[in-house]
Symmetry: D2
Subunit: 304 residues, 4 copies
């Protein structure tokens, strides 16, 4: 398949449409991004590596990082994880407290904020310096030492993160947070502040398209079963209350972030990252969703 | 891949475990089934057709039929459907009214009872004799004229279906049911009373493993895109509030019924049907879930 | 206290304000009422009986009748009632199904539709001809043989009562309805169709202002304790999700209906009925609420 | 009425029953209280002042203090309050986040934790030293300079108050908290740590039985209308999801605290405080509820 040609065609098409939606407004670092940017990058298992537009521009990956922290915690703790966080779609927005109260402090899945905070709590319990270790892990899977946190984004998120503070306190009240709240939120906000390019993201997620093994270094990041399970969680839970819509339209396991990035993988074939800052009403990149829908429709490449 | 050998091995393993769970109790026709039965059947795109145990015994397919009625309605009405029913996982049990009230009478997806009832309403609007037409369609995709409703099951369900009557009345109050309530519930209960064997079920679902085309007759049941979308809906919504768990453990689009049947498809490869009457707490076949988990774990065959 | 003078003053004041709100639209019999009408009538324990405006015009008392059916059932069954219906405010609209699902089919209180339907089920179990007996009871407490059901209103409500049908079916699914659904809904809709004037209503509720004893006939309708409890239920639950607002502004136990009527009692002093057809957003008479707020504010007559 | 005699009789009766329920466990200062204690004190408008048992023992008044902080804020800000907190019963437990998320950060009423926290926020905005001013106000209405915070209780509550921290952060996320979270929670926890005896409590609440005027000093604490409204809020919201039950059984406006205290007022007649540390499942004093039910049943003294 000529990925380059398809990407060019879809890119041109999406560029020609109106660029709808709103950029994330809650911190200045996100709201000041140029909303016209659009980047896309595909990395295939057989070594193709093609991109277009702003695919070499760093952006805030935000919730996409939840997949990487989950991978690290899953590697460290195995199925012990699932005592503290579920694998079911939530049917509610990403930061809802309703479900958490109903389920006694056990988040529905690790892709919503509450679940990702529990994963951070697990990392804080395990590492003396969790931020440093998480960063080292991300650099390892991306095979790229240039990836870094954005200190200013992390501090901004910490300063306005009332809802996340509400979530973690509610879970602490139910006994599902072991560590000091400030330490855990610190890791969580730094994690979300990670900056990567589309090229770096699609490279970093390649192991999930290859049964847990990095196809370039042949390093095993996750076992076969665990790799499939991370994909399954992305498929059912990666887009909050639009997870079904993404499955329905795009048909790939994927994860979005409020920075406008989306990454998706086609097991046995490729990983793909798209970025465009304007978000639809559910908080997912407007043009990113459009791009991926066109891409899988035109190529017929979906898991279904 | 030697499906016969794998199936034999997994079958023996699952048979050796304790047969936990409860048989459905709400109508006598379901509660009187012999709970020790276990059947499995795989049909592959390249023509293999292998089964074991009680795979030639008819059972009540119940909610599995929702996939077939959805297919028929999708063929007839296309994307008009999605104005009246969503594609998001519900995060709640199959017969919950809470979500329906919150979303003003629009069911989350066509796999929960409320959504399947809306699909029946669409069929009642379209056909003069919807029961006859639905049966004809099921016989066509199964290429089998012996499939039939079980009158006694249908009448039993009609007589105790208070919750479904509540659901349809609530939707009617919101204006999302066009036809007479009794006509729609009649179709719904007959649809759920369909009886098929594992062999017939796996045969009938083959088109969903083949991009919408029956691989034997070459007849196009659904377009490529729509076939993928039906699979996507099964993946995210096919097991009520255990949909994530099924994705996580089995990794295939699938659908269960309270009769103890489960059908799943591996796009481009095969469809599989399992049946064992005892249900776990979420209402899905206890041994059916175990069988499919072992099957995809041992074969590495999952969409992820 | 010169009730006549106060009523005249408040009446003039409320009449001078804009007549806001919407008349009930769901059945023609209610929507065709002249919205400019306003009636009020006060009956005191010491024999005063004064009214103004349209206080001799019959109107559909609708949910106000729930207090009378509760009184009858309470008299017949005593505290057995509270096994099947609670006494807590619901915090939700009058016809919500959410709470009912959460509480396993036990309605929060007998003033919301679900609770009143359970009361009707109890009356259907007790009487061979429950409509006739309920009517006889209402005529008795009102000391007025002219009170009647409005057949046309009852039939209209039966024909569009999808939400009530949903409620009763959900309760039947939970085992909290003993009788045939149609029989119970028939009684419920006839009960709501009762027509009375403000004068008749305030007369009928006098026993609740007098510890359960009709002050004119000296007949004991309810025991002291039960009479106080019916008042307590009106106080906390009589205005659906505006019950707190009514307590806050008016400070009397009371009950409203979508026909635009409100009745309230001041224990040891008087009962009062107001009627004006336009409803506020919560479904309570716009001018009725204003009248009672002015009335208790100016007289200082409230239970608090 | 011979209050002394009635109180002695009811006291003996309640003492003779089993002392059921659990003492509050979440902080050591509450869990270490002797559970056998029972105190009661009545203060009447005409100057009677009678008590029994442990009515001169200080205890932690906890949520009862919410009525006093509401009174102070209402005096300062008038009806501006109701833009930030409602007057409806919540239908949910005292510390639920569900309603708060649904209503966009506006608590249902000032008697649940979230609402009382908003009231504290208002006091923090108004006073340079809110703790000192609140204490001065409580001493003033109680006419007693010996009332004090319990520093150790306040600090314990601050250290384990995860759920209250969740509530205030959620409200802050919705823009309904103006001040620094720590300042507001500090005031809230000190307020709840107030210690008073039954005698002091019944004295302090006398103004609510007398239309807002302290009957001894003749000082006007609240206007007539506002006093009635505070009573109305206690009536419909004072016992969380047992408010209806308290109205039903006791029939007086009242407020409970997890320290085991309950205070209630009978407008135009008296105020009464009861204290016994064991709590029923809803978090209200087991023997306190029994005492008040017997007391109003035997005296016939209730607002209904």
């Amino acid at each position: 398949m000529d990925y380059q040609k398809i990407i060019e065609a879809v890119y041109a098409e999406v560029k020609s449409w109106e660029n709808k939606g709103q950029i994330a407004q809650y911190i200045p670092e996100l709201s000041n991004v140029n909303p016209r940017q659009l980047g896309v990058h595909v990395s295939t298992l057989d070594g193709y590596d093609v991109g277009m537009g702003d695919h070499h521009t760093k952006f805030s990956i935000q919730s996409i990082a939840k997949v990487l922290s989950l991978t690290l915690a899953y590697r460290l703790r195995g199925n012990e994880l699932w005592k503290r966080v579920g694998v079911e779609p939530s049917g509610t927005p990403f930061n809802s407290l309703v479900q958490l109260e109903h389920d006694q402090g056990i988040p529905r899945n690790p892709m919503i904020n509450a679940g990702a905070i529990v994963i951070c709590d697990i990392l804080v319990s395990h590492f003396r310096n969790p931020k440093k270790e998480l960063l080292a892990f991300v650099r390892e899977v991306a095979q790229n030492p240039d990836i870094a946190f954005n200190e200013s984004v992390a501090q901004s998120e910490l300063s306005v993160g009332y809802r996340n503070t509400a979530l973690i306190n509610l879970m602490k009240a139910f006994g599902n947070i072991d560590n000091d709240i400030e330490l855990v939120l610190d890791l969580y906000c730094y994690m979300c502040s990670l900056e990567m390019t589309c090229q770096e993201l699609s490279r970093a997620f390649l192991f999930l398209a290859n049964d847990g093994i990095d196809p370039i270094t042949q390093h095993q990041v996750l076992s076969l079963t665990r790799s499939k399970r991370v994909n399954a969680i992305m498929q059912t839970c990666g887009f909050y209350d639009e997870a079904g819509e993404f499955s329905f339209r795009v048909g790939l396991p994927g994860k979005s972030g409020v920075g406008g990035g989306i990454v998706a993988v086609h097991p046995e074939h490729f990983s793909i990252a798209v970025w465009s800052p304007r978000l639809n009403k559910k908080g997912n990149s407007y043009r990113g969703m459009k791009f991926l829908e066109q891409f899988t429709t035109q190529t017929g490449l979906s898991v279904f």
